[in-house]
Symmetry: C2
Subunit: 374 residues, 2 copies
């Protein structure tokens, strides 16, 4: 008995794009969907009410960070992550695997798990598949992820093969350890940038059987073209009736390519992180609000956007806030960028619903004077 | 013909406290009132909508900062400060005098005005009474302030006397220079911590005649008792039918003492600045949210507070956000502190309305285990 129910509503005739509905313990999600990242139990600079206003249906929180601070046991004693952070809608936690790989210091991987030191205070820690599942069950998100090893890029084929096999053994242990009936568990496909290894990993993970399937280990330094190619390598063998998730990507065009390849869920820090650096997404491409050209510009960030920021503030004001290092700059920029991402997903869903995703994708690139990488 | 209309509604029988109504170009204010400080055309970490939600009726912006960045002429070309920052209610600008004194570098005062260097980029600037009024007219707040000299503390009586006389001559020039019919102009009483000089300054400023009167030069390092004493030194000679404003103070008890002495308007960065440092105001006194005692505390910041923060978040979560240096920490802490300040003003008004301000003041101190300084 799965803790989620995925319904495939419609398949686009001109692409692998699909429209779906994912029902979780805390509510229903329309797919394809983008999940804002709430690393430390907050999507940076946003309140939960604002997340709902921009159209967020599900958010992601980071197991690695919350395990280190304030600690998953504390959060469990306070009633779980939903209550702790005042978010009562669907939520997903990652496994900590990628963060141990990218943030943990003096990392040492063994069959049993990973020893590392905290990036906050240097203290020693150990996370295994069983520990990751215990942390995620304590946090209590609607969807948990298997603890995986994310190989570096570039990496030797032989290393990547050993790594994906370890990820498979860990996935088996995660499934074994997982016991929370109101929480789904997704498997993660690794295999680096090697098409055959991606397929091999996918087969092994599908063999174990999970509530959903994710691609891990993308956006680790590879070319866009390779990233987009990897999205197509194993979708034909992923079960059609399970949700498919690409972890940690990406730019708007990466989401479009992911949807085009048949994926349903995405997450990335890009909209919020870029916002804090003054980079704003618009229907005609990216702008940097600190540019002198916006000094007296009374127009909104994106005339095609109807968000709170675009309705009420000029580019000139946003430029002033950014140059003055005001907190409101991070707030308004994050707000707009998340609205952009969620609107893009909404438009993609609507295009799939009308059977017009291929045209929508063409138009997306044309408005930005870009071409697809594939 | 004044750009504002002040109506004295009621006088408290047991104190000098007064209930009033101040009508400005952008709307009506109930007094006594606290004005959140929007230094750089934003009250730090807050949107205008949130300011309204916590009960803000009028906000203050800093002439010195906005003159330096983005520049008052730019703001005027963009339609004025109200439109620039998306705030359509009453607003007051200070004259820049205090900031030139506290932030400007290599400051050199002459009869004509003040030469100084920008604290942002070291560039040279000159502000005179006429320049300050021109900047404030360009910004377009409902209430402008006279350009004054704020003497340091401690200071020789002879220096303070010369200084207040310069402030008087500058006040005359400000009134002469001021021409915007939809903007009121307030005079500023100086005189340091010398009761006789305060009275002398007040007489000179009243003699010139302004739409309202302010006490400047308080909270510059003096003892609380002296600050509170100064509040009483000249209220008996300030015109009863004009609004009275104490600039740049203060702690909640300073506001209570100001109201008790017959003042109507206050501003201070304390609620927002303290918030960003984790210091929160409550009905039982100040707490610091980073304290270990709050680690698992599920209660709201102040059980007597009904604000968005206290309705939805625990002390444990706010402590986590603060320790994790999250932007949401600054947001929620500022929100609560401003609500506390505005609620305190609302309760004071209600107490005056019932003729019970003296009892309200006694209870305010009793709940905090404090005594009035006077």
């Amino acid at each position: 008995m799965s803790a989620i129910k995925f319904e495939l509503i419609k398949k686009d005739p001109g692409s692998a794009a699909r429209l779906g509905s994912l029902t979780t313990t805390h509510g229903r999600i329309e797919t394809p969907i983008f999940m804002p990242v709430g690393t430390q139990a907050t999507v940076k600079a946003m309140t939960p009410e604002e997340l709902v206003e921009v159209g967020s249906q599900i958010i992601l929180a980071n197991t690695y960070h919350l395990y280190l601070r304030p600690g998953h046991e504390l959060i469990a004693r306070l009633g779980g992550l939903h209550r702790f952070m005042h978010w009562d809608r669907p939520m997903l936690t990652d496994s900590g695997g990628f963060q141990v790989f990218s943030l943990g210091e003096l990392r040492k991987i063994s069959e049993e798990g990973v020893n590392f030191r905290s990036h906050i205070d240097g203290s020693r820690h150990f996370i295994s598949p069983e520990v990751s599942i215990a942390i995620q069950e304590a946090l209590g998100a609607d969807i948990a992820m298997c603890f995986d090893e994310c190989p570096p890029y570039p990496a030797e084929q032989s290393y990547v093969k050993k790594s994906l096999e370890l990820t498979t053994r860990w996935a088996r242990r995660c499934k074994e350890a997982h016991s929370r009936p109101d929480q789904a568990l997704f498997g993660i496909v690794q295999g680096g940038m090697h098409p055959d290894l991606r397929r091999e990993s996918a087969k092994q993970i599908i063999d174990i059987g999970f509530d959903g399937y994710a691609l891990g280990g993308l956006s680790v330094g590879e070319e866009k073209e390779i990233m987009h190619q990897m999205m197509h390598e194993c979708t034909d063998i992923l079960p059609e009736d399970s949700p498919r998730y690409i972890m940690g990507i990406g730019a708007p065009e990466d989401l479009i390519e992911g949807i085009n390849a048949g994926f349903d869920m995405f997450d990335c820090v890009m909209p919020t992180r870029n916002a804090r650096n003054g980079a704003l997404f618009t229907s005609f491409g990216r702008i940097n609000i600190k540019a002198a050209i916006f000094e007296e510009d009374q127009s909104p960030v994106d005339p095609e956007c109807g968000c709170y920021v675009c309705r009420n503030y000029s580019r000139a004001y946003l430029r002033h806030l950014y140059r003055s290092q005001e907190i409101l700059a991070s707030r308004l920029n994050s707000w707009h960028n998340l609205q952009y991402y969620l609107d893009l997903m909404g438009k993609a869903r609507s295009a799939i619903d009308k059977g017009e995703f291929a045209g929508f994708r063409r138009e997306f690139y044309a408005k930005r004077n870009l071409s697809p990488s594939l």
